[in-house]
Amino acid sequence: MSKIFALAAVVIKELYRRKDFYVLFVLTALLTLAAGAVNFFHDDKIVRYVKDICLLLIWVSALVISVVTAARQIPAEREARTIFPLLAKPVSRWQVIVGKFLGCWLATGVALVVFYFFFAAVTGSKEQIWPWGAYLEAVWMQWAMLAIVIAMVLLGSIFFAAPSSTSTITLVVVGGILLLGTHLKVIALQQPEPMQFILTVVYFVMPHLEWYDLRDFLVYDMGIVPLRAVALATLYAAAWSGIFLLLAWFGFRRKNLTT
């Protein structure tokens, strides 16, 4: 495990020494503060739209950070050829995959905590309440979702040489699942065969990332989700992450790294 943590630490160091996170955080902060500064009908107690905008920006930023960071891990190591001195050490390719995953996931978690603290500060200053339980749940669920996404991206990065290809494809897939995941069965029933069958299979087989989006609970002050459901969703995320990581390892373990 210490090797995996060592690999993860390098990934985290890389993230906070690059500019991506800081740029996205500043952008999120500026847009949120701008949105909050607008006065609608001379009412300074209006807060939900600020929450909505801020949470949307947090979701987009966290997705971008996690996807872009994970997409470049293996390809960048291969391109910069740092993979060779690394694999010349007593570390297996499975440990490299898991270490990269853990590093990206932990780094994204840190970014999420910073974003949500900012969110709590801005919205709390307007409505003077801080539902920490709801915040904690929202952060945890988003972080769990990002575990699936990062594992998916790592799998893609084994097969696509260019990080941009992996990032684009993953963002499209994730965006599609978040927007359409809940409704895919309804859409399937409206299609003729064989599309109906295909979409139904996709609906049952795909990871349901939309479960992890608790923004509505925060925006509309709907309290917390039952902890049992959160626990099951966490297990689901762990299972899917494991599947993607295993598939990534299958693809990586016999790969000729010199070509």
Binding site: F41, K45, I46, Y49, H208, E210, W211, M222, P226
Partner: protein
Amino acid sequence: MKISPLSTLVGLLALAFTLATGLALTTDNWSSRAKSDNLFGMLFGDGRKLFANHFFTMADVYFHSGYYPSIFDKNSGEEKEIISASHGKKESEEDEKNEDFLGQPKDWIDAFGRNFRITQHTHLENHNEREILPWLRLAADLDPQKIETYTVGAFFLREHLGRADQAEAFLREGLRNNPDSCEILFELGRVYHDGNHDAERARNVWLLGIKKFFLRPPDQQKEDKLIFEGLVVNLAHLEDEAGNYGAAINWLQAAQKVSPAPGALQKQIDDLQKKLAALVPVTPGKLY
């Protein structure tokens, strides 16, 4: 002959200026977007109306605290303007509750996923209705010709938030952009009557509304008869409050001709006739 870069640059600038002068008149007719006095109109063209519709729907979503059908859900094809000035009436609430778009879970994924969705039908209240205002403001900025934005916004400002002055300002803005709108005049009259308790101004505005109504083409008058009914019924109530029962009866009789529920109006006419009979005869009010 060698041409210097500076000469080339000057030549190109002269060519560009000449072309611009020559083409200016021609391109003037291509698009009116750049001449729009609205920033969103300039940026998005007519596409701003799509955004306006979306933001109006967002106001509705906010009003229902996120419990709202998507475009894929049942009854999605109908134009559901759940958020309306008539909201708050018991019968419309009952209708809404019966239109539960979620239904039974389709499978275990749907069932489990409902733990993470808003599944309760609620409405904003206790001054939390303010949360819908930003979206209505944006919708009005994007599409100043969308009348419902002003009427709905003014309704909530007046009725739920007690801000008659802001409701009036919002409606006046709507009137500047839509000077012939009976709906805005109707809502403005309610602001004067219910908010400011100024019967005279309310009467003037509603009468203007009726005047605008009759300026519409006959086909459109048939489609918009409900707004006419609203105007004349409110005028009737105004006359009733002022003790002008004859005038009130005349208004209600005009409303009966277009109303889908003439029986209910007849009951009101009967009550007014009783009141009139109980009075010392006075000069009947003019029918406008």
